[in-house]
């Protein structure tokens, strides 16, 4: 990709996506981690805690309300990225997760509805042992139903190019 092209892609965003934070979904997520913490599953314990009710483990933001049924991934790339990436030989199907950074501001509570929007924060290409790779940093901001910023997430996705 040309530097001008990359510069144009930085700042592109998805629309706002809505997430529903259900108590059962929190528990299934905590079960999947193998995390028995009663803050995430025990009403009585959580009521007596500083949070006053069940909260989600940091890193769980509920289920998307309008995701297409059968969608294989929770990650969503801004649409404008797809064309330029595939022209450069990058296949999203072979994406690898590179890492995550979180800032947590407020608890996510059972019953919350979150509004999330994702913006392309950074995009770099490198040539390594595995050939040409793109490192994409997507920043997602989560607001709750009161309009309060609850968390910011910066995910790094690594794409490999199959064109030389």
């Amino acid at each position: 990709m040309q530097p001008e092209e990359i510069a144009q892609l930085i700042g592109k965003s998805t629309g706002v996506r809505m997430f529903e934070v259900e108590k059962g979904a929190i528990r299934r997520f905590a079960d999947a981690v193998g995390d028995p913490n009663p803050l995430f599953r025990d009403e009585e314990h959580a009521r007596g805690s500083p949070y006053g009710g069940i909260i989600a483990p940091p890193g769980f933001f509920g289920w998307p309300l309008r995701q297409q049924m059968g969608s294989p991934l929770v990650v969503e790339f801004p649409m404008e990225l797809m064309g330029p990436l595939s022209q450069s030989g990058y296949a999203v199907a072979t994406a690898l997760d590179g890492g995550m950074e979180y800032d947590f501001f407020q608890p996510v509570r059972a019953g919350d509805t979150l509004a999330a929007s994702t913006v392309v924060k950074d995009l770099r290409e490198r040539t390594g042992k595995m050939g040409k790779m793109a490192f994409i940093v997507l920043e997602t901001t989560y607001l709750n139903q009161h309009g309060t910023l609850v968390a910011r997430a910066r995910a790094t996705t690594i794409l490999r190019s199959f064109s030389m």
């Binding site: 997520f29 805690s49 294989p72 929770v74 997760d97 950074e101």
Partner: protein, 154 residues
């Protein structure tokens, strides 16, 4: 739950109570359902071979949440995880299942951490930590950092 940790109880250089985990093929299926990540890379050998990874690997996001649990277990109900980061540096291979509930023998992963700094910022009693996951050979596959806010005895 363990008793509440206070800022005064923590010293720079101190170890975070380690957390052990065993990744199994069954756990990866459970994680797919619990997180919504149905990438076949984590449960389908043919797909994993096709994309050049070779065999199904543990989800980075599952390892991330193991490290989150390391922190939330340590800081207790009154602690707050303020900042968190980790990088998936090396792939981890889950154990196969021997029975409906038990995996075959194999590696155990350890989530560990160390306090690097104690400080007070705008009235918040903060602790910075280095955190990581070690595989069965003791190699760090998932390094990270965390900042937590702890209650102070005052």
């Amino acid at each position: 739950m363990a008793k509440q940790l206070f800022w005064e109880d923590v010293a720079e250089g101190a170890e975070i109570t380690p957390l052990s985990k065993i990744a199994t093929s069954q756990m990866l299926v459970r994680w797919a359902g619990g997180s919504g990540d149905f990438n076949p890379l984590h449960y389908d050998k043919v797909f994993a071979e096709g994309v050049g990874v070779g065999q199904p690997i543990v989800h980075g996001a599952l390892k991330r949440q193991w490290l989150v649990q390391l922190m939330t277990d340590w800081i207790g109900d009154r602690g707050w995880l303020k900042r968190f980061s980790c990088q998936y540096r090396a792939m981890d291979i889950p154990r196969a299942m021997r029975t409906m509930v038990d995996p075959v023998d194999g590696e155990t992963w350890w989530c560990k951490g160390k306090v690097t700094k104690k400080f007070v910022d705008e009235g918040e009693h903060c602790v910075d930590c280095d955190i990581w996951i070690e595989n069965g050979k003791g190699e760090v596959t998932t390094p990270g950092k965390a900042t937590v806010v702890l209650p102070a005895r005052g």
